[in-house]
Symmetry: C2
């Protein structure tokens, strides 16, 4: 594959946060009506001004700067003292041991961890099972590594009490030679959590086919009431076959510090460190110190954060469900919601641009997550409550305006 | 290539900063004499406690945190306002225009920029010309991208007034199909600067063979008295064929913030941003704010920093040159010095371990930079002056002790 063809598949123009680089093209011929006034809301990512970073995170960062060279130059895999603190808390959270010395790496964001995990397990021609829909970078990572993606459908729309993963398709993927399965739980963009039965069956299949599972649990702390979460790494599965990825960037609003962690398989973590040495050296030294606040927040802080997000979720669900033709599943964890819109007179990507232009509402088009999701849009509702509700009303107003 | 064989070539155990992960193995049978007391010095990287970060860098970071979401979530290629400030200063420094919007990307460290630049220009089987000796990651980057390295010798030891690059070998590399040439200027590990004639000839050859040149100018601000520096990008060369990489991590001691920039070819920068979107998303948002201090230091600050480094360099040169059999070239820029030691009774890598064990002196083995450099060691002398001189004396004491 030439470098040109490799990069032609790596588009980012529709990726969240890149709207500023989109060429506008002409929408004039399809526009209907006037713009709708209202405070603009960027649902492409959480608003860290509405939900502010963990208390004391800046003080801990400052102490890191104060510590000087010791904190600036850590091992490539991150400061051992910090890894030791985290290992204990992550073991307790996930229900299985974490080896601070050899089984954990600190990365620049969870994106950094995902890249390293995929690039450490997938080389040219390797088959990788990928859920549809799932986080938009998963497919791109496999393509960049010149692996072959084997899609596995998740029928979230008509399933209850489970994510709706097609476990038969997953087994077929393993049968056809997939050595890696990569998925997010809770699912990004849908916000559903895999059931205990689904996770147990993934563990069984990974063991049967000796496959590596990379599970992105970025939002696994932000669980809404009544939802149970099952950690794959705590199931009957070879620990060397599982890499779990988390980070404090979302629920804790620490995105500005670019921190993630991967833990589990020592062999894969060791490769990830070798690769990090040439990709970015290490997560920012001073930023690493901020991990001391993680899973160590003031009492009641996380409960309050969950309560507030749940209230926003409930209000958005009301807005969407009051609109004929919008289908939406209840978010079970995290701050994404993924409504499927009715048939419109304009293409999905154009509607996303119209939303920005006429309503000051930025969402991410569903096609970033699956080729079958053209009618859906993803909203990150970690926003100012009132502004988010008002913006979702503008969204449904435009849905009505552009109905086919 | 299987993933296992790919990673077996990516060793990091002897890489700078990773000494803590080295298994000690037994040196007992070769050890001579006792340990030498003295303040330990880690020459594998600069000491940011001895040479502290740029004044006001922390205040500017704090302001970035204060700015909140706007600073936390920038375009993948970095905040446009900051790019605009930098573009002007970098154009003035390098003597050629920099396009803030399309011709520049902010990365997590210069390592991040190097990875993205190589991975955006080299795919399987592509030939890449690499200088020997040069920065240890260059070779690994090419190998990770499954490119084919074509070595070009730099005969720094017997050259004066130039780096000593074998331009005939470089042309042969291009003739044999190399489409990319990657090198550091000043050279890491030797600290020599390429002459105007060398840079002009590199420009001529890149134009003649339509090759891309990636030039790592990380240390190009720390020039010692009497040294002239020639910027490749300001020569007669197609601007789309050159990517220049710099960053404030070294001279400015801002390593803890993990910042780098790449600028030049719009096509390659555009690929680099697509790749950054899946590798790390962006350089830490708050950290990006620290770039506002770059090329914007208080009057006289950089002169003073250069003066102090030059004084340490001069003292180390005296220590090494007073020792029979040590060959060392005068560092012209940056803070690396690369003495070649006389023939010893132990292997080069073992001597490096002995230095740590018996003298509290950490250096990087020459073999990290070139297969022909086993007798050399690299020292980063951006250290406390007195401690660095004392440590270099312990080094030569051990050289005398282990002479063959």
């Amino acid at each position: 594959m030439t470098i040109q063809s490799k990069f032609s598949r790596l588009g980012t123009d529709a990726a969240p946060g890149q709207e500023v680089r989109q060429l506008s093209g002409s929408l004039d011929s399809v526009l209907r009506g006037d713009t709708i006034a209202g405070r603009p809301v960027d649902f492409s990512h959480g608003d860290v001004d509405a939900f502010t970073p963990t208390p004391h995170s800046f003080e801990v960062f400052s102490a890191g700067v104060e510590a000087g060279g010791k904190q600036a130059y850590t091992e490539y895999r991150g400061d051992l003292g910090i890894r030791e603190e985290l290992a204990e808390r992550l073991a307790s959270f996930t229900g299985a041991p974490v080896d601070a010395r050899d089984g954990m790496i600190i990365t620049p964001g969870t994106q950094g961890a995902l890249f390293l995990a995929v690039a450490s397990t997938v080389s040219q021609g390797d088959k990788v099972a990928i859920v549809q829909p799932d986080y938009f970078a998963n497919r791109k990572l496999v393509e960049f590594c010149e692996g072959k993606m084997i899609p596995v459908r998740m029928d979230y729309a008509t399933t209850e009490g489970a994510a709706g993963l097609d476990l038969g398709q997953l087994e077929d993927a393993f049968k056809s030679g997939a050595k890696v399965f990569l998925f997010s739980n809770p699912n990004n963009p849908v916000g559903v959590v895999y059931s205990r039965e689904e996770i147990e069956e993934i563990a069984v299949l990974a063991s049967r086919y000796n496959a590596t599972v990379i599970v992105d649990q970025l939002y696994s702390r932000l669980l809404y009431s009544g939802v149970n979460y099952t950690h794959l790494r705590a199931q009957q599965v070879d620990a060397e076959n599982v890499v779990t990825i988390m980070g404090p960037s979302k629920t804790e609003s620490l995105s500005g510090y670019r921190l993630g962690v991967a833990f589990g398989s020592k062999e894969i973590i060791s490769r990830m460190e070798k690769l990090q040495a040439i990709v970015s050296l290490r997560a920012g030294g001073y930023s690493q110190a901020v991990l001391r606040t993680w899973f160590n927040e003031p009492a009641g802080w996380m409960d309050e954060r969950i309560r507030k997000h749940q209230a926003i979720r409930d209000d958005l669900l009301k807005v969407f469900r009051a609109t004929s033709g919008i289908q939406v599943r209840t978010t079970e964890a995290g701050s994404y919601i993924f409504p499927a819109l009715p048939h419109l007179s304009v293409a999905g990507n154009d509607f996303v641009r119209i939303l920005r232009l006429q309503a000051g509402v930025i969402v991410t088009p569903g096609t970033e997550f699956s080729p079958f999701s053209e009618s859906s849009v993803r909203l990150n509702f970690s926003q100012d409550h009132a502004a988010a509700v008002a913006a979702s009303k503008r969204l449904v107003t435009l849905v009505d305006r552009y109905r086919a």
